[in-house]
């Protein structure tokens, strides 16, 4: 259903697009853009044109970040752990399901509507129900939500990767009279790995944002999502933004690690 969730793993730039002297400019460009946006934001917020109450200035947010750093770290740890547990669980379930689906067309067909449904389900709809099923006093419901969010891209990409084994490799393994287990290990899994890791990269930030949003709907306190909502509810907007920044950093950390893994795995293929 969600085809773009299976965005192919990154390939090199076409030849002729080598990184020349423009390389530095390109590396600096996003920073320049980011800094200028923040600067303009600061100017508008500081000019009094817009009430500070409405649009906290980057400086005010920075001050909150400094002040609430320890709390941001501990909240980030709670949310991050939930996201990590969910990511790992969703990844494992996704890989296993994809393997199961790859064995029989019937199993693939049976899983299809379930995956399609999971791909379009809004977390907000599921969160209260999962809290009831797994207990509002535990993080399980949130971890499960992160797992469901991670499952979809991992499953779709792995399933796709499992279909990528080259006929020439299959013929070769048959010529070696290799067992099914040997074929699976030497060819099938290894061919699918880069695709799976692409799925994990896509899943990583989804897991974080899902774990975070799930905190809006009950459960133990202390995570980033809860703190964002609590801060916003008490009109402490700079603090709310500070926690949002922490959430972004957390999501970024997840996706950077996942991209790194992906690059490592898909270097040779």
């Amino acid at each position: 259903m969600t085809g773009a969730a299976t965005i192919a793993p990154p390939r090199g730039r076409p030849p002729g697009a080598a990184w020349g002297s423009g390389g530095t400019a390109r590396a600096v460009a996003p920073i320049v853009l980011g800094v200028s946006v923040v600067a303009v934001w600061q100017l508008i917020a500081g000019s009094g044109l817009v009430e500070a109450y409405l649009l906290p200035s980057p400086a005010a947010i920075g001050a909150e970040i400094v002040e609430f750093w320890p709390s941001m770290v501990s909240a980030g740890a709670i949310t991050g752990l939930n996201a990590l547990v969910g990511l790992v669980a969703g990844t494992l379930i996704g890989i296993i399901s994809a393997l199961v689906a790859s064995t029989r067309r019937s199993l693939d067909g049976m899983l299809a509507p379930i995956v399609a449904a999971l791909a379009v389900i809004p977390i907000v709809a599921l969160a209260p129900v999962l809290n009831t099923m797994f207990g509002a006093d535990s993080q399980t419901g949130r971890q499960l939500i992160a797992a469901l969010a991670a499952f979809v891209p991992v499953f779709l990409n792995t399933a796709r990767g499992l279909r990528q084994t080259q006929p020439v490799h299959r013929d070769l393994m048959r010529s070696y009279a290799a067992s099914n287990a040997q074929i699976m290990r030497t060819i099938t899994l290894r061919t699918a790995a880069p695709f799976t890791f692409t799925g994990i990269r896509l899943a990583s930030s989804l897991a974080v944002i899902s774990a975070l949003v799930a905190e809006y709907f009950g459960g133990p306190r202390g995570g980033l999502g809860g703190l964002i909502s609590t801060s916003a509810a008490s009109s402490a907007y700079p603090r709310a933004w500070a926690y949002v920044v922490a959430a972004i950093i957390l999501g970024l950390a997840f996706s950077l690690v996942a991209s790194g893994l992906e690059r490592l795995v898909s270097r040779r293929r």
Binding site: Q166, H169, L172, R174, Y176, Q182, R268
Partner: protein, 274 residues
């Protein structure tokens, strides 16, 4: 190198038909094929696209099974020969595993059949030397040129010291000059190992240069149209300058004519669309 005592033919194909069930109906890929390849003999299969060359090779390799007729390899069924690893095989795409180094690619068939790691290491070193890639064992396929990749594929096919080498257009993807060079290399290697070779190609000069016999096939359904023995001396002694020899050009003409159905080729073959 492997000079075991062989008493039977390397390959015996008897009355083989192969029919594919396709969406549009049945495709008769091969019909009434009879072929014997002697131990140590170099046989090329040549013919237009779709005439069943690859299909025949795949039947010998037991990658596919005939619809009728039988295929024997060294006196056993093709299936048994595959299980016993009696042959090595190489394809047009080198088909190296991109995540394995050159050495690890060559070691693959050994690993799969549980050679000890010391044995494997020694055999791999031997093979790397044989195909002239001495300093490249630790490289990865994407760091090699097409010709080097094909050499790795050949080394891999030779890993289990097979007495039969099956090759499906192994040099088809190489540029002409590298191709000629690889042909000469292949002659050297097959002479060193003494293996029989069944070699599929589209190129008449290639078939002529390499083979003891050239099997010319015709399509729809795939049949053997002619078998042209090469009068060029032992394959082991052929060298690059043979390519400029009159006998070479004569053999080329002979195969060309067999291919074009006995009559001298002419451009007036109608508007055949390929």
């Amino acid at each position: 190198m492997t000079e075991s005592v062989i008493t039977t033919d390397a390959v015996t194909v008897t009355a083989v038909d192969k029919v594919f069930e396709a969406a549009a109906g049945q495709v008769v890929a091969l019909s009434g094929i009879d072929l014997v390849v002697e131990p140590g003999e170099f046989v090329s299969l040549i013919g237009p696209s779709g005439c069943g060359k690859s299909t025949l090779l795949r039947l010998i390799a037991d990658l596919d099974t005939p619809s009728s007729g039988s295929v024997e390899v060294f006196g056993t069924s093709a299936h048994q020969a595959r299980v016993d690893q009696k042959y090595g095989i190489a394809f047009q795409q080198a088909g190296l595993l991109p995540w394995r180094s050159v050495a690890a690619n060559i070691a693959l068939p050994l690993e799969l059949h549980g050679s000890s790691s010391v044995e494997t290491r020694e055999r791999v070193a031997e093979l790397i030397a044989l195909v002239g890639l001495d300093d490249f064992g630790d490289r990865y396929p994407d760091e090699l040129s097409g010709g080097m990749q094909q050499r790795v594929a050949i080394a891999r096919a030779l890993a289990k010291k097979p007495e039969l080498l099956l090759m499906d257009e192994p040099f088809g993807a190489l540029d002409e000059m590298t191709r000629e060079y690889m042909q000469t290399e292949l002659l050297r290697i097959s002479a060193e190992t003494g293996a029989a070779v069944v070699f599929v190609t589209h190129s008449i000069p290639e078939a002529v240069y390499l083979s003891d016999r050239v099997v010319v096939m015709s399509p729809r359904p795939g049949r053997i149209a002619a078998v042209v023995p090469m009068a060029l001396g032992s394959t082991a002694s052929r060298a690059d300058d043979l390519r400029e020899d009159g006998a070479f050009f004569e053999m080329i003409t002979a195969v060309r004519e067999a291919l074009h159905g006995g009559a001298p080729a002419s451009s007036a073959r109608g508007v055949e669309n390929r």
